[in-house]
């Protein structure tokens, strides 16, 4: 097994992934490093990569013109950043910024989309991994929206 393939399969997101599929996905992967403060992507940019965090912390931010950005999530080692690669028009809706030295595996989204289109089994396996992440984030967002620590919510 190649070094990169081993690293991809060792990431918790790919726990239990079939070795052959791991090989296919690794064909779209590269090693990345972000310094503190560096952006992984900015809102509006093309969503052309998925990031599997291996080390460090990434904050997900939203900014309104003329105001300080608001951080609404942090992702760290073992987690993934970026789901917009799956949904047309494939544009990031938020900013993602490394808040400490961050190492990640980047998976080329166009390459992965093409491979998923060509192989239903791979596509379904990727969906099975992404959907729980998306569903969990939806739950978390709802909980944050409820503002449970605010005064009206007890």
């Amino acid at each position: 097994m190649e070094g990169l393939e081993r690293i991809v399969l060792a990431h918790p997101f790919f726990a239990g992934f079939e070795a052959e599929l791991g090989q296919v996905v690794s064909g779209c992967a590269r090693n990345l490093r972000f310094e503190t403060g560096q952006y992984l992507f900015r809102a509006g940019d093309e969503a052309n990569e998925i990031f599997l965090i291996r080390q460090g912390v990434v904050s997900i931010e939203i900014a309104a013109p003329g105001q300080k950005p608001t951080v609404f999530a942090t992702e760290r080692e073992g987690e993934i950043v970026g789901a917009a690669w799956m949904v047309p028009p494939y544009r990031w809706r938020f900013d993602a910024r490394a808040t400490s030295l961050t190492r990640a595996i980047g998976i080329d989204a166009r390459c992965l989309r093409e491979k998923c289109e060509a192989d239903d089994h791979l596509g379904y396996e990727m969906m099975k991994r992404f959907l729980p992440v998306v569903a969990r984030r939806l739950d978390e967002t709802r909980l944050q929206m409820l503002d449970v620590y605010g005064k009206q919510s007890a």
Binding site: K68, F72, A73, T74, L143, Y149
Partner: protein, 277 residues
């Protein structure tokens, strides 16, 4: 019957020290004006009377091992809590108690302890934290997870800082949102659970916060392998008598003032989702 014996008659107390914790929350040290302060267990509450305004239930937030006064952390959410949170040193108030059940700090000896607090829920858990830390060697891993609205709303900031410096406690704080100057976690508190190391088969979890947060936390704990019989939560309902007579705080077959506020999750899980209760 003397006032000390009649659970309906508030005893006179006065405010010793006041600590302003956040914009709307204060910790008050309450000293008895007559007689000794009764002992209490971590998790219990008192009924505090702001004279001329009303009476509300407020948990103890101080150290049960200290004998001088009671410490209560009060958040101004309405008429009575507002009047209490605004009290100054020397002010008089009435107090009945202690009432209710306690956190399972004795049963948890020998096990890992996972304390999960949301917002003001850290206040009723603080006495349990003091107890566990005072006998730290008798427990396995000790983990404290605290979620609140924003960095401005973090309670007991200095004390949290001291606990975080200890090598024998794992503490993570998360906020719902922050500006980029905040370097900690952002997200909901149940999210922190899978990141922590503890033995789910041998863990006692103590959870306090808004009910929705406790439900999400209990299900995250369950997913991590902690059984519902090992999860304890502290419930809040409007209280009047606080001794199981008036029925104001009824929750299914239980009265929160007497059978709670600290309750085992498996006993009440099915009721928590029922809107009418």
């Amino acid at each position: 019957m003397t006032a000390a014996e009649d659970p309906f008659i508030p005893l006179p107390y006065c405010v010793g020290r006041v600590r302003r914790e956040t914009g709307d929350t204060a910790s008050l040290e309450l000293l008895p004006l007559a007689g000794p302060r009764p002992s209490f267990k971590a998790g219990q509450f008192n009924m505090l009377t702001a004279f001329g305004v009303g009476e509300v239930a407020i948990s103890m937030s101080g150290d049960p091992a200290e004998t001088e006064g009671f410490v209560h952390t009060v958040r101004n959410v309405g008429a009575v809590s507002g009047a209490l949170a605004r009290l100054e040193t020397g002010a008089a108030l009435g107090l009945r108690g202690p009432f209710g059940t306690a956190w399972p700090t004795e049963e948890a000896i020998g096990a890992d302890v996972l304390i999960v607090a949301g917002g003001l829920g850290l206040a009723p858990l603080r006495p349990a934290i003091y107890e566990v830390l005072a006998r730290r060697e008798r427990y396995g891993r000790v983990v404290l997870l605290y979620g609140t609205r924003s960095p401005r709303d973090i309670l007991y900031r200095a004390e949290m800082g001291r606990w975080r410096r200890r090598l024998d406690v794992d503490i993570e704080i998360t906020v719902d949102h922050a500006d980029p100057a905040w370097h900690g976690n952002v997200g909901v508190v149940p999210r922190l659970i899978p990141r922590m190391s503890f033995d789910p088969q041998n863990t006692f979890a103590m959870v306090c916060g808004p009910e929705v947060m406790m439900r999400f936390t209990a299900s995250a704990l369950h997913e991590a392998g902690v059984s519902f019989e090992r999860i304890w939560i502290s419930m809040e309902r409007n209280m009047k008598c606080a001794i199981g007579l008036c029925g104001h705080c009824q929750f299914g077959p239980d009265f929160i003032c007497k059978d709670g506020p600290v309750m085992r999750y498996d006993r009440i899980a099915s009721l928590l989702a029922v809107r009418e209760i």
